[in-house]
Point group: C2
Chain length 208, copies 2
DNA sequence: TCAAAAAATGAACTATGTTCACGACCTGGT
DNA sequence: ACCAGGTCGTGAACATAGTTCATTTTTTGA
């Protein structure tokens, strides 16, 4: 009984789904979102084009699955980095980890932001949840830096902070001509976060 | 001599170019980058599909022309806002103007960042220049805020600052589910810039 | 006035996501 | 063991893109 090679039954469909996500993930990691083609995907998975559409509604859903995995890896990287970090260094560590992740997995990371749903389509709940989990990672460190701040305000500012760091990383890695030199980008991000941390301290001091 | 309606000679080609850019600009402003289709464009311009390719190398070139105009409008908005602003408010004014512009011309503004050249292709020099002009707008205000900073450092930080503001605006207007409430986004951007300005003051104070 | 050069034309080509009629296959009941 | 019914996979065909190119039309310059 070689149930390993010739799986049958309800698991068959799930197996195809997993295989397609795996291949799509590799393709996006290697060639970016634009490198993902339905026909190539089918060929690599050894199935017909139409089979993709029995496993997924469309390529968008498949891309969201790949993006969810990328988000999960990013979360893991942030958690690991934050695990062994001083509280006052948490912001620096997070920003730097984000930059490192973007560099290490640039095409996959880019796919998170390049991908657009067709106009009017709402992303599925499971994807929204994955995104929110990422923002929530920033909440704990921020609460140690900003005690006495309400949940609402902290959550909003966590998002703002993430957005600012993301902007610096995104435009810094954009290579429309000459990408920002790595060392310069490192320094600029570190400087920005330091300045923000200083500004936050002043903000707190004013309230005392 | 109705040279107005039936222009002939060397200007004819230039006329078609201008018409196509105008129509593409309107299309992108109304329906975003994804709404720009070669066939619709030709129909609206009253020419054959092939004529587009006698006026431009490809649609990418046309899009870059439209984007250059958007950059120019953004520059104008920044200049006007900075014209009547106190030096110490320059950063706030710029950030707010950028947010207002993005809101007022969201599809056009989005096209600036959504558009991707085919891999390996370098953007033409005239487009690079247009982009750099934008960053240079931030240099003058920054030099008043950070006297004694070298040209290099100021230019680099201007870019970083722009990137941070852009990140907050870009992710704030992203409406993958529920766009950030306008008032909240206003406040968050104002808060971030205030914190950065405070942090910059501390930075300066340390050096004295 | 006309021949050569330039531009415009639009059908055709390529590439891509998606659908669908058909056939193969699995499942459960007998 | 076998069959009926449903599910799944197939790949040709469809829809929609950008782009090309042989042909036709227009413009130019002598």
């Amino acid at each position: 009984m070689n149930e390993k090679t010739t799986e049958t039954g309800a698991g068959r469909r799930e197996l195809l789904r997993a295989r397609l996500i795996d291949i799509a993930q590799e393709t996006i990691a290697a060639q970016g979102l634009a490198g993902l083609k339905a026909r190539d995907l089918a060929a690599a998975a050894g199935c017909a084009i139409g089979a993709i559409y029995t496993a997924f509604d469309d390529l968008d859903e498949l891309i969201l699955r790949v993006n969810a995995r990328t988000l999960a890896r990013l979360e893991t990287a942030l958690d690991r980095a934050l695990g062994d970090a001083e509280a006052e260094q948490a912001l620096q560590v997070m920003a730097r980890t984000y930059l490192d992740f973007a560099r290490a997995e640039e095409p996959s990371w880019r796919a998170l932001f390049e991908h657009r749903l067709p106009p009017g389509a709402a992303p599925p709940q499971w994807y929204v949840d994955a995104r929110n989990r990422l923002f929530n990672r920033l909440d704990a460190p921020l609460s140690r830096l900003l005690p006495g701040t309400g949940h609402w305000a902290r959550e909003a500012f966590a998002r703002t902070l993430f957005s600012a760091v993301h902007g610096v990383v995104a435009l810094g890695l954009e290579e429309k001509i000459a990408e920002t030199p790595p060392k310069l980008l490192d320094d600029q991000l570190e400087k920005l976060v330091r300045i923000i941390a200083d500004g936050l301290m002043m903000e707190s001091a004013r309230l005392i």
